[in-house]
C-alpha cells in the first residue's frame, strides 16, 4: 500500500478537482443544489450540461497533452521538447485552419475535416522537425528547439495567410480557436477526444520500458534490446495523432506538456512506470484548474484557457532553460 500511496493521492486529487471545479464560477453552485435539485433547476443545468462537460474535456485534453509532452521528452531526451515547442501544435493549428477555411468541418460538427487536417498538420510538423534533427548528425538541443521555432514561425505565417484570405466569420473562428478554448456544451467534445487519449495512454503504458531506455540514450536502448527505429516511428505517429485530435477541438493549448511531466518528475522520479500515471492524472487536473481560473479570474469575462497556460508556461520555460544543469539528460 505504501508503495502506491502516491498513486492513490494523485488519483483522489485528480478526480476531486474534476468534481469540485464545476462548482466554482460566475454563479457558485453548492453540492446540495446539484444533488438535491430537480433536473430543470438552473444550478443543476449549469453543473451537468455546461461546467462538468467542460471540466471533463479539460481533463482529457490536459492528460493527453501532458502524456504527449512526456513521450517527446523521453524521445528527444530533453525537458524542453513538447508538442508545443516542437511545432506539433502549430502544425495541427494550420491543418485545422485549412479545414475551417475549406469549410470541411461544417457538416460533421467540426470533426472529420478539421480533425483530419489537424492530425495531418501535426504529423507534418513532427516529420519536419525530426527530419531536420536527423539530417544533422549530433544535433544539439538548441538546434532541435530552433527547428521547432522555425516550424512554428513558418506555420504561423501560413495560418495568417489563411486568415487574411478568409471572410470575417471564419477569421474570427480561427482566431478564437487559436487562443485555445474549452467553451462548449454537453459531453460530445470530451467523448470525441477520449478514445484517442485513451488509446494514446494505453500505447504509452505498453512502452514504459522503452521510454525509460530511450531517455538514457538510443545506443544504450538498442544494446538492451529495444528496436529503436520502430518504437520511435510508432511513438511519433501515435503521439502526434493524439495531439492533433486534442488541438483540433481545444485549440493549441500550450505548455501543459512542458510543465506537467517536469513537475511530476520532481515528485515521483524519472521512471516512466510511475511517471506516466502521475503525468496523466496531474495533467488532467492541471488543465481543469487552469480553465477554472481562466473562466473566473476576470468574471464575467471568460478567458480562453490557452492564454492562461501560456502565461504560466513562458516563465516556466525560461526557468528550465536558465536553471543550472543538475543533469545533462533531461535538463537542457
Amino acid at each position: 500500500m505504501r508503495r502506491y500511496g502516491w498513486l492513490v493521492l494523485f488519483l483522489l486529487g485528480s478526480v476531486g478537482v474534476v468534481l469540485f471545479a464545476p462548482l466554482i464560477g460566475g454563479q457558485t453552485i453548492s453540492i446540495d443544489s446539484v444533488l438535491a435539485a430537480r433536473p430543470d433547476d438552473p444550478a443543476a443545468v449549469i453543473f451537468w450540461d455546461i461546467r462538468l462537460p467542460r471540466a471533463c474535456l479539460a481533463w482529457v485534453a490536459g492528460a493527453g497533452l501532458a502524456a504527449a509532452g512526456m513521450a517527446f521528452q523521453a524521445m528527444f531526451r530533453n525537458a524542453l521538447a513538447t508538442p508545443f515547442t516542437l511545432g506539433v501544435s502549430s502544425g495541427a493549428s494550420l491543418g485545422a485552419a485549412v479545414g475551417v477555411r475549406l469549410g470541411l468541418g461544417a457538416t460533421l460538427l467540426g470533426f472529420s475535416g478539421v480533425t483530419a487536417g489537424a492530425m495531418g498538420g501535426a504529423l507534418l510538423a513532427i516529420a519536419i522537425v525530426y527530419g531536420l534533427t536527423r539530417l544533422k548528425r549530433n544535433c544539439t538541443t538548441g538546434a532541435m528547439l530552433l527547428a521547432g521555432v522555425a516550424v512554428n514561425f513558418f506555420f504561423s505565417s501560413l495560418i495568417l495567410l489563411i486568415q487574411y484570405t478568409a471572410d470575417f466569420y471564419d477569421t474570427f473562428r480561427i482566431l478564437r480557436w487559436l487562443m485555445g478554448g474549452l467553451q462548449m456544451v454537453g459531453f460530445d467534445a470530451p467523448l470525441r477526444v477520449l478514445p484517442f487519449v485513451s488509446a494514446g495512454a494505453i500505447l504509452l503504458a505498453a512502452v514504459v520500458g522503452e521510454l525509460n531506455l530511450l531517455t538514457v540514450g538510443e545506443e544504450l536502448a538498442a544494446s538492451r534490446g529495444v528496436a529503436v527505429a520502430r518504437i520511435k516511428t510508432l511513438l511519433f505517429l501515435s503521439v502526434s495523432a493524439m495531439v492533433g485530435v486534442i488541438v483540433s477541438i481545444c485549440g493549441p493549448v500550450g505548455f501543459v506538456g512542458l510543465m506537467c511531466p517536469h513537475i511530476c518528475r520532481l515528485i515521483v522520479g524519472a521512471d516512466h512506470r510511475r511517471l506516466l500515471p502521475a503525468t496523466v492524472l496531474f495533467g488532467g487536473a492541471f488543465l481543469v484548474t487552469c480553465d477554472t481560473v481562466a473562466r473566473t479570474a476576470f468574471a464575467p469575462t471568460e478567458l480562453p484557457v490557452g492564454i492562461f497556460t501560456s502565461f504560466l508556461g513562458g516563465p516556466f520555460f525560461l526557468w528550465l532553460l536558465l536553471k543550472p544543469p543538475r543533469n545533462t539528460a533531461l535538463a537542457t
Binding site: 512502452v207 514504459v208 525509460n212 538498442a222 538492451r224 528496436a227 522520479g269 524519472a270 543533469n327
Partner: protein
C-alpha cells in the same frame, strides 16, 4: 559458412560506411567462447564502430556476422540483447535522473513482458549484479550524482543484470582514476574467469591490452593492421605499424610483461 561449436562470434567482410568515410572496411574475425578479445588501434580506427555494428546500434553495415552460428540479421534486437551486452565509452552524456536500482533494472528489458511487467528472475538477477559490481551502497542515488568511476561500475552492474554471455566493452577504463581502473578491471576479470563470459573490449592502450591478455585484432583506418596474441604485441615494428608512433619498452619485474611507453611520432 557454419562456424564450429566453440565459436560464438564469426564476422566475414564486416564493413560500415558513414557517407564518404569507410569506417570499417571488410573485416573477418572469429571469437571463441570464454575468450578475451581486444580491438586495439589509434583514435578513429573503427574499433568502436565495429563494436556498435555487432550490437546493431549501427545498422546498414554490410558483410556477414554470426552469433552462435546464427545470422545476426535474423535475430530480433531482444534476442540479440539476451546474448550480447554493451557498455558504452565512459564520459559523455551519461548522467540520467534515474536511481542506480532503476537503471540496473533496465538491463532486464529483454526479458520484460507486455506493459513492462517484470520477469520472475528479475529481482534475483538485479540483486546479484549489484552485489557483484559492488554498487549496493549507492543503489538509491541517482546517476547524475555519481562520480565517473562509480557510474562505470553501475553500467557494468546493468550489463551483468542483462545476463548475456558476451560482453562488448568500449574503452571500459578510459577516463577513470587508477583505483577505479583497478576495480573495474577486477570485476571484468572475475566475470571472465568465474562465469566464462566472452569479453570483446576496445582500447587504444597497449599496456591495458597486454595486461588483459587474450587475443588482439589491431585496426588502422578501418582495416586490420595486425592480429595475434597480446604477448606478441611488444614489438617495435608491430606497434609502429598499428599506431604510426615509436615506443620504448620496459620490462615489468612483477608480471614479467614487456610494457611500452610512447616516444613521439615516427618520422
Amino acid at each position: 559458412m557454419i562456424p564450429d561449436g566453440n565459436t560464438v562470434i564469426e564476422a566475414r567482410g564486416l564493413a560500415k560506411r558513414f557517407g564518404d568515410v569507410q569506417a570499417v572496411a571488410g573485416i573477418d574475425f572469429d571469437v571463441r567462447e570464454g575468450e578475451l578479445f581486444g580491438f586495439l588501434g589509434p583514435n578513429g580506427a573503427g574499433k568502436s564502430t565495429l563494436l556498435k555494428c555487432l550490437m546493431r546500434i549501427h545498422t546498414g553495415w554490410t558483410g556477414r556476422a554470426y552469433l552462435h552460428g546464427r545470422d545476426l540479421h535474423r535475430c530480433s534486437q531482444r534476442e540479440l540483447a539476451r546474448s550480447v551486452a554493451y557498455v558504452p565509452q565512459p564520459g559523455g552524456d551519461q548522467s540520467f535522473p534515474y536511481t542506480v536500482r532503476e537503471f540496473v533494472r533496465m538491463g532486464r528489458y529483454a526479458y520484460s513482458g507486455p506493459f513492462g511487467t517484470a520477469h520472475p528472475g528479475d529481482q534475483a538477477a538485479i540483486d546479484a549484479a549489484m552485489r557483484r559490481a559492488d554498487v549496493q551502497e549507492f543503489a538509491d542515488r541517482t546517476l547524475d550524482t555519481l562520480s565517473g568511476g562509480e557510474r562505470q561500475k553501475v553500467f557494468i552492474a546493468a550489463v551483468l543484470a542483462q545476463g548475456s554471455d558476451i560482453l562488448l566493452l568500449d574503452e571500459p577504463t578510459a577516463f577513470l582514476d587508477y583505483r577505479h581502473q583497478a576495480e573495474v578491471a577486477e570485476v571484468l576479470h572475475s566475470i571472465n574467469q568465474d562465469s566464462g563470459a566472452t569479453i570483446l573490449s576496445v582500447t587504444h592502450d597497449v599496456n591495458a591490452a597486454m595486461l588483459t591478455g587474450g587475443h588482439v585484432l589491431a585496426l588502422r583506418d578501418g582495416e586490420v593492421a595486425w592480429r595475434g596474441p597480446t604477448g606478441d604485441l611488444a614489438c617495435e615494428k608491430t606497434l609502429g605499424c598499428i599506431f604510426g608512433a615509436s615506443f620504448r619498452f620496459l620490462d615489468d619485474p612483477v608480471t614479467g610483461l614487456r610494457l611500452v611507453a610512447p616516444q613521439g611520432a615516427m618520422r
